[in-house]
C-alpha cells in the first residue's frame, strides 16, 4: 500500500498543551501535505513540505520531514479547543494526479 499511516490514531490533550502527530509513508515522494477535517466537513489544507525541505512552520504549526525514514511529523503548539479535528497526511504520486491520504489522527483538545 502506498498510503501514509498516521500515529497515533487518537490523541486527547488539554488546551495549551502541544500535540504531535506522526506520519509514515512507503515510497518516494515529491512533497507531503497535512490536512485537517472537522467533523462532518471536507478536508482543509494546512501545510505542504517538499522533499528537499526538512522543516516548515506556519503559525502554530511545525512540520518536519525525514525522507530517509519516510516519515513526517506535525506539531501543533499551544493547542486550542478549536483544534479538535482529524488530521491527515497526504503524499502525491503520478505527477500529482494521485494524492494518497492516511487514516488520520483524531485530536481532541479539552478546554
Amino acid at each position: 500500500s502506498q498510503q501514509g499511516e498516521e500515529d497515533p490514531q487518537a490523541l486527547s490533550i488539554q488546551e495549551g498543551e502541544n500535540a504531535t502527530m506522526n506520519c509514515s509513508y512507503k515510497t518516494s515522494i515529491n512533497n507531503l501535505q497535512w490536512y485537517r477535517q472537522n467533523s462532518g466537513r471536507g478536508l482543509v489544507h494546512l501545510i505542504l513540505i517538499r522533499s528537499n525541505e526538512r522543516e516548515k512552520h506556519s503559525g502554530r504549526l511545525r512540520v518536519t520531514l525525514d525522507t530517509s525514514k519516510k516519515s513526517s511529523s506535525l506539531l501543533i503548539t499551544a493547542s486550542r479547543a478549536a483544534d479538535t479535528a482529524s488530521y491527515f497526511c497526504a503524499t502525491d504520486f503520478r505527477g500529482g494526479f494521485k494524492t494518497i491520504f492516511g487514516a488520520g489522527t483524531r485530536l481532541f483538545v479539552k478546554a
Binding site: Y35, G42, L43, F97, K98, T99, G104
Partner: protein, 110 residues
Amino acid sequence: DTAVSQTPKYLVTQMGNDKSIKCEQNLGHDTMYWYKQDSKKFLKIMFSYNNKELIINETVPNRFSPKSPDKAHLNLHINSLELGDSAVYFCASSQEAEAFFGQGTRLTVV
C-alpha cells in the same frame, strides 16, 4: 462563493437504485478528484481527472462512472447501489499540490 460545491449533501436511497452526485469548482483548476471516506474515516481516492480526461481509476467497480462535461465539473454516477457503497463521497480539485475539497455527500444505502 464556495470553491468546490457538491450536491446533494445527503442522499438516502434503496439498494439497486441509480444515483448521481454533482461537483463543480470555480477555482479554474485543471484537476478534479473523487474520494470515498468510509465509516473508519479512511479516505480513498477513486478517480482523478485532468482537463476532462481520466487519469486515475483506482480499481473502482464499473458501477461507478465519473463524467466530466468540462474541466469545472466532475459528476459521479453510481448504478445498482449496494449497502457497501454507504460512505461520504468527497469531490476535490487542485492546480498544483494543494487540494480543495467540497463538503462531502453522505450516501446511505438502505
